[in-house]
Amino acid sequence: MDMKLLQDTIDLLRSHIDSGTDIDWMEMDNRPVRDIADMLNAYELAYSRKMTVLACCILIHTALNKHGKLQAKDNERLTRLLLDGDYLTGLMYRIAVKRKEWKLLSRLLPFHKRMQLSLLKNVSPERIFNELKREIRSYLEQRSA
């Protein structure tokens, strides 16, 4: 497991996230995205581009988790979870644009849309994240073909 890629990517994300959001990264579960980090290491791709791919996956995963906990009765907690999910999704667009990864974004956009439709059909977040892994693998295969 290459922790450097994961750590560098989290540092990249920290540098982009406005401190006013108060988003708590400590509560983030890194395990699912470690698989993607491992997958990225198996492909020929510039390190900075691997970071962008991983950053987008972390943002999708974390936003998914935040928006998946909206049963909170406490309105302040619900508001924060809702805003965190919205902010992280917006940041995914921003980072992909800033780092000129349109081909990646053009795959993630339809995925993100279909993800919302799947969630409405009560598809589990784990299954959705597995679909994301397949999408990323397909993207990497296409890049290296």
Binding site: D18, G20, T21, D22, H67, L70, Q71, N75, E76, L78, T79, R80, L82, L83, G85, D86, Y87, T89, G90, L91, Y93, R94, A96, V97, K100, W102, L105, S106, L109, P110, H112, K113, R114, Q116, L117, L119, L120
Partner: protein
């Protein structure tokens, strides 16, 4: 006369495009709650101020870029509609434009996913796939154009910052004027400013013009939001579709409250309010603020932003679309 008539924009055609975004989505089943909900949101109407501002901004560029302009307008209206869906959850609003809000007709979780869907689908539709993988999106755009559209979707982060500020300062009567203005800028003015700028950029206007339109839109947006804050105190429930003083009841400190806090007789009554205050105490304070000089002071600041915008119009004196900016300004400051 409505703004769209005054500046010569056919809103019916625009609304057809809004509907096309969802009706052309091959991933969406015809009987889906998503489809019917988004259609309901579109059919509920609205002034469509943001897309009108995109079209208006485009008049400062070149002609012949209408498809890019309309995609920009549609994307920004979807962004606005989706943000209203999420705002209504945050504000616990049960009605909007005289109809039950989406989370009331469905549930919070469903409404959130529909809001997310709307933004993702709008960019997918607008940006398509440069190089072309047809998937129900509109015709292909260049990669630069796709980046420009996706960057607009990233404006969500700025809108969120306004909401974070509001959340952080809920019932915080120590909120400073600077903090209020920044919150207002993020919540409303930035999106309006970006609408004008994005329209100009979609029509390949020069960078200086686009930037000046942004600044004009920012001042206009500040005036608009302050006016909206005022309506919360001055208009009856029937006129604004929510109870008077709803902002304060939710702990949202707006400009009239900030000014009223300078009134030694009123300040202690305001400061005693909190999330668990009795409705009668809230009603009393809201009534007193509405009758105080804070309303005129707030109106004065709104006028000063509008005046700044008016002065900026002079910069466009040699442009035929200058009169449209005047129309827009007059709309916000009759």
């Amino acid at each position: 006369m409505n703004l769209h008539n005054r500046i010569g924009v056919d809103l019916a055609s625009f609304d057809r495009l809004l509907r096309e975004v969802v009706s052309s989505d091959r991933d969406l089943p015809p009987s889906s709650v998503v489809l019917s909900s988004v259609m309901d949101l579109i059919n509920a109407g609205g002034k469509r101020l943001r897309p009108l501002m995109v079209v208006l901004g485009s008049r400062f560029g070149e002609s012949g870029h209408e498809p890019a302009v309309m995609k920009t307008a549609v994307l920004l209206e979807y962004l606005h509609m989706a943000s209203l869906v999420h705002d209504d959850i945050i504000d616990q609003s049960d009605m909007r434009r005289g109809r039950p809000t989406l989370h009331e007709t469905t549930d919070v979780q469903t409404a959130v996913h529909i809001g997310n869907y709307m933004i993702a689908r709008a960019i997918e539709w607008a940006a398509g796939h440069p190089g072309g993988d047809p998937d129900g999106s509109s015709e292909d755009v260049s990669e630069d154009e796709a980046y420009r559209l996706a960057e607009l979707a990233a404006l969500v982060t700025e809108l969120c910052m306004g909401e974070y500020d509001q959340l952080q300062h809920r019932f915080d009567f120590g909120l400073t004027m600077e903090q209020y203005l920044e919150k207002t800028r993020c919540k409303t003015a930035l999106l309006m400013a970006h609408c004008l700028k994005a329209g100009a950029e979609a029509a390949h206007a020069d960078a200086g013009t686009a930037e000046r339109l942004f600044q004009f839109g920012e001042s206009l947006g500040m005036a608009f939001q302050i006016r909206d804050d005022l309506l919360d105190f001055t208009k009856p429930k029937e006129a604004i579709g929510k109870p008077a003083g709803a902002d304060l009841r939710n702990g949202n400190i707006t400009l009239p409250v900030l000014y009223a806090l300078n009134d030694p007789a009123l300040a202690p009554r305001i400061r005693q309010l909190g999330p668990h205050s009795a409705a009668a105490d809230m009603d009393d304070v809201i009534h007193r603020i509405a009758a105080s000089g804070a309303i005129e002071q707030s109106e004065e600041l709104a006028r000063s932003y509008a005046e700044h915008a008016r002065r900026m119009i002079v910069d466009f004196a040699d442009h035929p679309a200058q009169r449209d900016l005047q129309t827009l300004l007059h709309y916000f400051l009759p």
